[in-house]
Amino acid sequence: MDINILTVFILAIFVGFEIITKVPPTLHTPLMSGSNAISGIAVVGAIISTKIDGGVGTYLGLIAVVFATINVVGGFMVTDRMLKMFKRK
């Protein structure tokens, strides 16, 4: 089990390097804000952790839900706002 999940992790890093080196410098800021939004995937972990025990853990999970959602919603929205501005002649 552990080795499978490690395999997934390492392969994902390689995929990441492959696709991200193809992003042109012009789009590096949207890339950053967009990947930032993707790191908000922690929201999934946050939701899972809210069910923990009804104690402190649940509240930590709920705060995490708020923080991660800021990251996800804000990140994707601001990326869209920027990409809208990139126009051709």
Binding site: I5, V8, F9, A12, I13, G16, I19, I20, T21, P24, T26, H28, T29, P30, L31, M32, S33, G34, S35, N36, A37, S39, I41, A42, V43, V44, G45, A46, I47, I48, S49, T50, K51, I52, D53, G55, V56, G57, L60, L62, I63, A64, V65, F67, A68, I70, N71, V73, G74, G75, V78, T79, D80, M82, K84, M85, F86, K87, R88, K89
Partner: protein, 456 residues
């Protein structure tokens, strides 16, 4: 539980496809939408497959987060984008750390592997959180942009790092000792601060990229805690992305990552500068005289620096460029990798002023173009056009890739004053035979130039 994993894989595939579409401005917006759909799928799958959760509380949390996030996203000025990305990095990192902490409080006896990943997740997440807020404070001007250094700083950081390793090790050995748990959180938070305060304002692009990478690493570590593929794959993608951008920024300044983090550059030069300044004799022209040079030119390359954005002169540049293009002249823009305050920042600032992205050229593309360029117009840029980077081994920017503006027939440089750039050094370019200075605020100068061009 098991079927939700299929949706996480789907979400990961959509993230990868989304980033792939970022390889061109035409498809990029669509790509962002695809990535966002992936996130929605991941969230819905989680909500539906984990039964024993308080949906109402989660929805309230998500609504609060959405409102805050959306407000940030809609209100932020494009010049403030680095600050916002810094804050978002901080939120992402802390979310990961909080999840790991929640998981720690729940588990009575987990495996050594799980405890180790919990410690890593809390450490990286907390460090990202405090580091990001320091970076935000520096960019926003709440904290001095100058490197903050004190004697023995490196040693203290090293001691904190050792203490962290020890505490982390003890947690794994004795998970019931809550003091170790608090210890890891506190030390990580302090390290986030002490590692960020010695870094100067000019190096913030590197720091933001690095923190971006950390927020991904934190998410991936949390993925290992929860054994969740969705988090692991997404975290790995973001970690890789941030690392690549960090590397590009370091190369743009010809600095190693270690030098950026521990070098406290900006401070050293200020103290070592003293009276050894070389005098340069400059030619100062009026906008009227400059207009005549533009009138005779066929190929013009604009070199925007951050001073341009500070003066809010992007629209004025576009107006001048459009007028020149109307006279059948070619106008291009040369964008240095560290022209803005974060990777690609200048491109966004110019795109906001409706400058078509085809005209924005990066360093490698544009440098050969200066050879047959009639006028290079340098606006608020300094260190990135300083020829000393090529030959002066004693210069702090020696070896940094620069834009070869001095190869154009004429270089017109607009600056407010003769003040030095971020690196604190005088620019020999200003004294070159083919260099002309036009002093003044970038916006005022460009507006006056446009008037003079129209009157010719």
């Amino acid at each position: 539980m098991a079927y939700s994993n299929i949706f996480y894989v789907l979400a990961a595939v959509l993230f990868i496809l989304g980033i792939k579409k970022l390889s061109h401005p035409k498809t990029a917006r669509n790509g962002n939408f695809i990535a966002a759909s992936g996130m929605l799928i991941a969230i819905l799958a989680t909500l539906l497959s984990y039964g024993a959760i308080d949906l109402q509380m989660i929805f309230i949390g998500m609504i609060i987060g959405s409102i805050i996030g959306a407000t940030f996203a809609l209100k932020v000025e494009m010049t403030q984008m680095p600050q916002m990305v810094a804050i978002f990095n901080g939120f992402g990192g802390s979310a990961s750390a909080l999840v790991a902490a929640a998981e720690f409080l729940k588990t009575g006896d987990a495996t050594t592997f799980t405890y180790s990943t919990i410690v890593i997740s809390i450490f990286v997440g907390t460090l990202t959180f405090t580091g990001s807020f320091i970076a935000f404070g520096k960019l926003q001007g709440f904290i001095s942009g100058q490197p903050i250094v004190f004697p023995g700083q490196q040693l203290i950081n090293a001691l904190f790092a050792l203490a962290l390793l020890a505490t982390g090790f003890f947690i794994v050995q004795e998970p019931n000792q809550m003091n170790y748990f608090y210890g890891v959180i506190i030390i990580s938070a302090i390290l986030g601060i002490t590692l960020t305060i010695p870094i100067g304002g000019a190096d913030m692009p590197v720091v933001i990229s690095l923190l971006n990478s950390y927020s991904g690493v934190a998410a991936a570590a949390t993925g290992f805690v929860l054994m969740n593929n969705g988090l692991i794959i997404s975290g790995a993608l973001v970690g890789a992305s941030g690392l690549i951008l960090t590397n590009i920024m370091c190369k743009g300044m010809n600095r190693s990552l270690a030098n950026v983090i521990f070098g406290a550059v900006g401070l050293e030069q200020e103290s070592s500068q003293g009276g050894s300044e070389k005098q340069v004799t400059i030619k100062s022209y009026s906008t009227e005289e400059a207009a005549m040079i533009f009138d005779a030119a066929e190929k013009i390359i604009v070199v925007p620096g951050y001073g341009l954005a500070v003066a809010q002169a992007q629209h004025a540049v576009r107006e001048v460029a459009e007028f020149l293009e109307g006279k059948d002249k070619q106008v291009l823009y040369a964008i240095h990798p560290v022209a803005g305050r974060m990777p690609g920042h200048m491109n966004v600032l110019l795109a906001e002023a409706n400058i078509p992205y085809e005209q924005l050229k990066d360093l490698d593309e544009i440098n050969p173009e200066f050879e047959d360029c009639d006028v290079a117009l340098v606006l608020g840029a300094n260190d990135v056009v300083n020829p000393a980077a090529r030959h002066d081994t004693s210069s702090p920017i020696y070896g940094m890739p620069i834009l070869d503006v001095d190869k154009s027939r004429t270089v017109i440089i607009n600056k407010r004053t003769m003040n030095t750039g971020f690196a604190g050094i005088q620019n020999e370019l200003f004294g070159f035979d083919n260099s002309i200075m036009v002093f003044g605020d970038a916006k005022d100068m460009l507006q006056q130039l446009l008037k003079d061009l129209k009157e010719l």
